[in-house]
Symmetry: C2
Amino acid sequence: MTSGARADARADLRAEVRVFVGDAPVDAAATTLATGRGLAYGDGVFETMRATGGTLPWWPAHRARLVAGAARLGIAPPPDAVLDREVAAFVAAAGEAAIKLVLTRGSGGRGYAPSTDAAPVWLLQAAPLPPPMRAGGLVVRWCETRLALQPALAGLKHCNRLEQVLARAEWRDPGIDEGLMRDADGRVVCATAANLFVLRGGRWSTPAVDRCGVAGVCRALLVERLDADVTTLSVEDVGSADALLLCNALRGILPVARLDARALAPHPAVAGARRLLAAAHPAFASPEDVP
Amino acid sequence: MTSGARADARADLRAEVRVFVGDAPVDAAATTLATGRGLAYGDGVFETMRATGGTLPWWPAHRARLVAGAARLGIAPPPDAVLDREVAAFVAAAGEAAIKLVLTRGSGGRGYAPSTDAAPVWLLQAAPLPPPMRAGGLVVRWCETRLALQPALAGLKHCNRLEQVLARAEWRDPGIDEGLMRDADGRVVCATAANLFVLRGGRWSTPAVDRCGVAGVCRALLVERLDADVTTLSVEDVGSADALLLCNALRGILPVARLDARALAPHPAVAGARRLLAAAHPAFASPEDVP
């Protein structure tokens, strides 16, 4: 996309936020949101997605993850047909945009005790796409903030994200793009807003997310397409890798050009991974995204 | 309070929710809340307080904790004078009620990266008081959901509360009032919505909250007034205790009458602790609250 097209996309963001209670859109939702469990406890799950050409190419995978995450938390999602219809209408109006869907448990219950019959409160937001990647790839650092081990929540894209907020707040230098996070035991898990893939000895691998971390939609696709190993990775494994890439469903594959003091040269395996992804999602096929 | 007075208090809840951006109240705040970091990430802290007679007797302690928690997260709170003024006006209209103050980082920033100059979004809610305690004391169980070890967030009353939601969702039996939680290492920490004090050999103790758990306002007062030890407690320590009590700023001291299969007889040390608390907070001096 050219920068002109990107500016047009921003101007096109008419439908910026829409709020639902159960199956129905609501207009004056301030009290609903203010008293809801989403705001009170982060009691919900979310998806961050990339709209392109008025569609969401990976929507079925995002919907499946949303519904599975809600099930693990005991939140009843709206029917698939309602989600499909409302998301399609919202995305059609959003142009080229980042789309966020937040599904919360809604209101009710007493304190932490969830209501057994509350209608979920959910919302759709459209936002401008993030700025283009730095030419050549990301500059990445190690974060000090660790991810706590919590198997009950691991893998979920839930709304309890203070660890990521604290990690991302560790630096303000605009010359640094992302930070890698370790768990409480020192194992490498992910970046603050992306999954990590590591190339060693000609094979890709990515950290397991069964103790903490998010099971990304783009990660799942790459595990399959790259035949990647899901495994345990140490700081040394990552520091000595032949190539590193970060990925998420908003920005696709982002090559890592530097990790702290170490520069990583462009690697043909990363370019190959980006071509694979471009074949799977039209938004990641632009010249900007596949250099 | 009589049940008649309680019904009156409910009818009196005119000012149920009020939302602020920075120093100013806002009327139509749905978009503010929907796009804010409170809902997106649980990026905030909160206080749950007990209003009585149009006042909040422990407000200075709650405000101090709120401001200290915000500082640890890098959230700029409204000035003390603004908090004091708005809370006083809200509480005066709320009668006998549970008051909740939620302070979020507001909107802005890019993804997890906090904005450096966003106005905080905060809100006040009034809700009816919880039902009276079961005669004789609480029936308590052990929860399976563990608290993850996260020193960066330990002690804070932050809005990432999915662990408590999952723990409280473990039972629906109305014959059970609360659940005790352990950390990932098996140490006892707290109940889902209260701190725990344990009487052994004539001395009170309460678990440390430097790895997980919330540093409760009522807990702090009791640590001082009961000269309690802040220490490590095992399941066996709790199971063999001479007496147990739970506490929070909404309900005061709640004696534990049963922990799973074990009945605990009323203990004079618990009655003494309740008298101490009644002297410190007028709402906890009613016949209902100090049997």
